[in-house]
């Protein structure tokens, strides 16, 4: 998978189903079915994880879709996984406050994806209703990750979308610089116009070099540490 260099090679366990409906999702509808794929057998998965580690995997990553949708399975799985290998949770951070105590202390690396910088883009591109208060939910969870897990690593991801540097990345960058200064940031520059991206004219192309340069410059200006 195209993950941060510090985290690869990684043994990845992908739980199907997602609570977002991003028009640019590279897996699209199949990944939204929470019953897709094969049932998770935690002990067998843990055995495979150990095997992968023996073969060179540096981390174990749980992702989705949105993995916290299957929180019971997630907890059962984590209970079986080896505890001497960094465990990574890749999430869109749209989980509820009730989920926090269940997730607390389980992961060595939190890898949340802060996707949208405003409610209008969230609604237009991912069908997130304003009533969902996505920004508040995600940012509250990021603050929780950072403040309640000082020993863990927090890497905030943002997928740079063409035409959305000003409206999405800019407010996110400023929020991070102001609220979580020093947090590692992973700017994802490989936007792929997949699935229903064509519904949005600005999303019909990859990110331009100009926009990438603008986004990177802003990160540097705000002293956001970027990770490759």
């Amino acid at each position: 998978v195209a993950d941060e260099l510090e985290l690869i090679p990684s043994f990845a366990v992908s739980l199907s189903g997602c609570n977002l409906r991003c028009d640019f999702c590279i897996t699209g509808q199949p990944s939204w079915n929470p019953a897709a794929g094969s049932p998770v057998h935690p002990r067998e998965t843990a055995r495979l994880a150990r095997l992968a580690v023996q073969r060179g995997a540096r981390t174990i990553m749980i992702l989705g879709g949105e993995p916290t949708l299957h929180i019971v399975t997630l907890l059962e799985l984590v209970a079986e996984l080896p505890d001497d290998v960094p465990l990574v949770l890749k999430t869109n951070a749209m989980f509820t406050e009730q989920a926090r105590p269940l997730l607390a202390g389980l992961f060595d690396v939190w890898l949340p994806d802060l996707k949208f910088g405003n409610a209008d883009c969230a609604r237009r591109l991912a069908a997130i209703p304003p009533s969902a208060q996505a920004w508040a939910t995600v940012t509250d969870n990021l603050i929780w990750m950072a403040t309640h897990h000082p020993a863990a690593t927090l890497i905030v991801r943002h997928l740079l979308m063409p035409g959305h540097v000003a409206c999405c990345w800019q407010p996110i960058a400023h929020w991070l610089a102001h609220t979580l200064p020093g947090t590692q940031v992973s700017l994802r520059s490989g936007f792929w116009p997949a699935w229903h991206a064509h519904r949005h004219p600005e999303l019909r192309t990859p990110l331009s070099h100009t926009e990438l340069a603008q986004a990177t410059r802003l990160a540097h200006d705000l002293h956001l540490p970027l990770v490759p």
Partner: protein, 77 residues
Amino acid sequence: MIPNPTQPDPPNPAPPTRPAPTTTDLMILPDGTIYARNLSPELAALLATLNPADPSMAARAGIHTPPSPSSSPCPNP
């Protein structure tokens, strides 16, 4: 130029009991930029030959030197 093959979200990797994806998608832009998804180590090795100076692709090809423990963000490597 071969950019970091980042994607909106990782391709839903097959569950561990299933085989890995058997196809990789490439998108080549007019300026020569190459994007790849569902990148296999084998194709990463091929792409790495196009730009040996790209550490990202080298890492994905498994031909990199892992960062030292002190540079790892993982607290318990």
